[in-house]
Amino acid sequence: MKLTLGPVLFNWSTSAWSDFYARIADEAPIDRVIVGEAVCSKRSPFRIDASADVIERLSRGGKEVVIATLALPTLKREIAEIRDVATGDTLVEVSDVTALAAVAGRDHVIGPMFNVYNEAALQELTALGATTICLPPELPITSVAVLGQYRGAADLEVFAFGRAPLAIAARCYHARAHGLTKDGCKYVCELDADGLEVDTLDGQHFLAVNGVQTLAGGVTALATEVFDLAAAGVARLRLSPHSCDMVAVSGSFRDLVDGRICAAEHIARLERLPLPAGIVDGYLHARAGAHRLVDTQ
């Protein structure tokens, strides 16, 4: 199984962002890295200068680079950016139909925020040129297994690590939490490297806000499931970047997949990092995503 590093979903400073990728390039046992902004176009101008260096460094480190696209483009500027990326030579990850329309007929990657729930959608997308399809986080393994039978030449990818992306909106909840609006947001999302904690009135951790995006409060960290996924025909696991040591995270997944460590050791390693929140795994088991079912101890 191959490991994919998803795009950094959070608003990290340009220096933190560049340093992160420099380390990934040199040290992480990762096959493919998705680079670019998928959540909010207000963040991208700060990284434009650093992007070329990051991409070059990752390529030198033997990583295949794929360019991310925005999950919810609405502005002319955002649509133009997607079109620019789509006409380049680098493989593009599609996060909505705007990007799909721009790359249709050429090889591309479908990201986890694109709705692919069944074999009919999968076949339609592979006919349009999808070579990898990362499935929506809420999909149960029974559905993944069906899709595995219809995957053809395409790689299936499953969200394996990090706070799963649950929703995208026009409204910026980070700004709202600070009494601001999206247009005058003061970039307050940069304050939370792993998202802003949303707890219930009982103080239970529940969700995390990341600008216009809402993430799971719990951290997905697959363990024994990766072998079931491999048997179901899944070729890639997606690790979503967090502020914890992602070289260690990817190393642990590599060791687990290659049989060098057991699931319990893998989870123990991850929990020692520490993770930004507790582990959840309900979705693949057709339960509430916030549940934790598999006990690896």
Binding site: V97, N118, A121, L201, G282
Partner: protein, 325 residues
């Protein structure tokens, strides 16, 4: 502008038609539509009778088959398409590209609308659906301002329908998995959001806690009416402060915006609420019928009297105004 009204049941269909709907939309009694609630929706026979009734009165019937088909179970969605075509539905409202492709291939003559659940927000995305699947109308996601809608409509080769009244998704429709995170069931997979089977009201001291999937969504002091715990309308703690982090309990009400929506080139207005009762349906349909008739006659729009039918007793124009963001 055409007035498109919800029909949760055959009797609601007749209520909407009598109250002045130009078109009604409905779905089957299963997870093929986004209002898969107990006691709601149509059998194949009821759909056939409903369509015959509506057609006799010059009213169109649109069938919503707007969830994402289950892997290994797509026949249910295909059968819903086939049954609707046979019943002579005026249009099918679809969201899943797999089902769109199948419907286009098998029933090329059938009029297709793109559901709000497909969340197409740009001219290029919409053109893709028009060119590849022959979509004739798009239902716009509730993420655009009126100005953006006007620009979008000028740039697309199909009709545009917008939400005019009712429950307001805060997240982009079809792109929200909050419900399944708490309950295991979602709009995309099951046609439900924050489903009643996972709701629990619990007395805790002097407060009533409204819970969804075991998570407290809000608390109410004694004597205060408790709202339904729709996840995105709940109160949560952020930085130790209690707030409606996503949205207050409120409903969309565009009566004040009708002239602007007409000027933007909107073809159809949709009233949400297939799960709502007869009183809601009759009042909202009649209010919008009167407002649209007044607008066509050049009269000034009347103030909205629909607050009684909104969540939390108040309306919002939502994303249609930029400051909402």
């Amino acid at each position: 502008m055409e007035l498109v009204c919800p029909a949760g049941t055959p009797s609601a269909l007749r209520t909407a038609v009598e109250a002045g709907a130009d078109a009604v939309y409905c779905g089957f009694q299963d997870e093929t539509n986004a209002r898969n609630f107990p006691g709601l929706n149509f059998t194949a026979v009821e759909l056939q009778e409903g369509i015959a009734y509506a057609h006799r009165r010059g009213v169109k019937v649109l069938v919503a088959i707007n969830t994402f088909a289950r892997a290994g179970g797509i026949e249910l969605w295909q059968r819903a398409v086939e049954t609707s075509v046979r019943a002579r539905a005026d249009a099918l409202i679809l969201a899943d590209i797999g089902i769109l492709a199948w419907a286009r291939r098998n029933f090329p003559e059938q009029r297709l609308h793109l559901s709000v659940q497909a969340a197409a927000t740009t001219p290029s995305a919409i053109r893709f659906y028009v060119e590849r699947y022959g979509v004739k109308r798009i239902v716009l996601p509730r993420v655009l301002t009126v100005d953006e809608i006007a620009m979008l409509i000028a740039a697309i080769p199909c009709e545009a329908e917008v939400f005019a009244f009712g429950g307001l998704c805060v997240m982009t429709e079809g792109r929200c998995q909050l419900s399944s995170y708490a309950t295991g069931e979602s709009p995309n997979m099951n046609g439900v959001c924050s489903p009643a089977a996972h709701v629990e009201y619990r007395q805790e001291g002097s407060e009533l806690a409204a819970r969804l999937g075991g998570f407290t969504i809000d608390r109410y002091p004694e004597g205060q009416p408790a709202a339904y715990p729709t996840l995105c309308k709940g109160r949560f703690k952020v930085h130790g402060k209690v707030q409606h982090i996503f949205e207050e309990p409120t409903s969309l009400d565009t009566l004040p915006l009708l002239p602007a929506l007409k000027k933007a080139g909107v073809t159809a207005l949709k009233i949400e609420g297939r799960q709502r009762g007869k009183a809601y349906l009759a009042a909202t349909v009649r209010a919008f019928r009167n407002a649209l008739d007044a607008l066509e006659a050049g009269a000034a729009p009347a103030a909205s009297r629909l607050d009684a039918f909104t969540e939390g007793g108040r309306g919002t124009t939502g994303a249609y105004r930029k400051t909402w963001r």
